[in-house]
Amino acid sequence: MSDEIKPSSTPPGGSSPPEQSSATPPAPAPPPAAPTRPAAPPKVDLSAVVQSPVLDALKGKFSQAIQAVSYHAGEVTVLLDKESLLEVCRFLKDEPSLRMNYLSNLCGVDYPDREKRFEVVYHLFSISHRHRINLKIRVADLEPAPSVTQVWRTANWHEREAFDLLGIPFEGHPDLRRILLTDEWQGHPLRKEYPTKGYDRDHLKLR
């Protein structure tokens, strides 16, 4: 991730690109590229702890609500108590130094082996400060998750989709009904026990 645009091999490369695939005479070009490539992959520490001003602010104000913090590829994910989710979301949105005003994505994940089988994941960004953070809560089957539509209106359709495909009810949602599937559809396809080809399709030879 160097800031320089021009690698050392640009002058010879610049003249030859049209034919470079068949004729590869610029012998000096591969050597500079070769040492950097194999060296890079093993050094990446995917679970490295990264600094996040949003997490610091959350730790300061809601330390008892945070159940766990995980890091992957530079992203910070905070597992929260279900009860404090709305309060945390309002704080993140309204706090002037954070202004997490943009809910990019909201979705559910199904872990049928767990006691609380669903995770609801919120991917938050701040348009003005460029911060980002991921929040998570866990709910059991049929246990309602708090709706964040009052905080971000964009959550409306995302929550309807999570309700439709996973069957997570959202408490306080203004218009909770199926969105992608028909109203009379049985079951929730993204649940792990739902067969990919659907029910009553055993006569079809699908993989």
Binding site: P7, P17, P18, S104, N105, I127, W152
Partner: protein, 365 residues
Amino acid sequence: MFRTEMMDINMGPQHPSTHGVLRLKLVLDGETVNDTDVLIGYLHRGVEKLCETKNYHMIEPYTDRLDYVAAMYENLGYVETVEKLMGITVPERAEYIRVLTAELQRIASHLVWLGTHALDIGAMTVFFYCFREREIILDLFEAFCGARLTYNAYRIGGLPWDIPPGWIDRVRHFVKIFPGRQKEYETLLTKNRIWLGRTKGVGILKSEDAIDFGVTGPCLRASGVDYDIRRAHPYSVYDRFLFDIPTGENCDTYDRYLVRMEEMRQSLRILQQALDHLPAGGVMAKVPKRIKPPVGEVYHTVEGPRGELGFYIVSQGDDKPYRMRFRSPSFVNLQALPHMVKGALVADVVAVIGTLDIVLGDVDR
């Protein structure tokens, strides 16, 4: 003895201006839209469920079929997410070629938008001009990867092949001729009285509403918010290019038109720089044949022609994703439609659907 009452009208799912199978339930007071219910799902194929049964290589062709007007971006977002999940560094030459093809795709996608949007509003000529230039781009893609619509052009870790001989010169030629062609469209539209009448002040979306609805892409920038993921959270090699982010002031359909026109010019600037600095070298990093990312989850976004394309992958260390989620810009942007057309005339609904630039394959997944 006279009385008025609200009338429910179904628009779609076979209405030509809904760009696919979108169904709107309009509650009309005369010709004024009082309320709108957006009914989607006619194209739902359960791609997210399907992805849980496929390995990581097999998913890429599925991403092509989400937003089939800008399939390069779906490919790009997907492979970058997997690369981020695994910590793969892609060779520089591959990154530059990805930027080249992606920016060409942005222009091609905006051309489809411009042609169909103008056609919806009644300006038929622009459509033919737009598709003339789009054809050049599709020819370039065909020479690069063999496909014209669903490309499957990238691989996790780089590219399956280098660009063919002479391809760079053809792109240079396109970059040279396109500004003149774009002037032709603008001659037809920018100061056209009918165009102004149909787009100015129509479908107003204020900046705070746009952010609240999660609207992204040109629609957000036309509302005056300077937010572009290429600048805010740079991915690939976008931090090396100079380009401007056009924003609008009036938050209406006309500003969204101007913003997209300017975006095409900025894409040309990026293309020019990428062509000038295209490095030599290989196009594929060393990646295992079986992609098995470590346990973890990432959410990665790229700036597609329609807005923020998000990919959320949960990996359990298996060769298939445990959960795959596509955050499609069309789906989220469409949510703002009832707000934008409230109090407008029925004819304006057509203009607003056009300006949101939705692709139903992307909405319904």
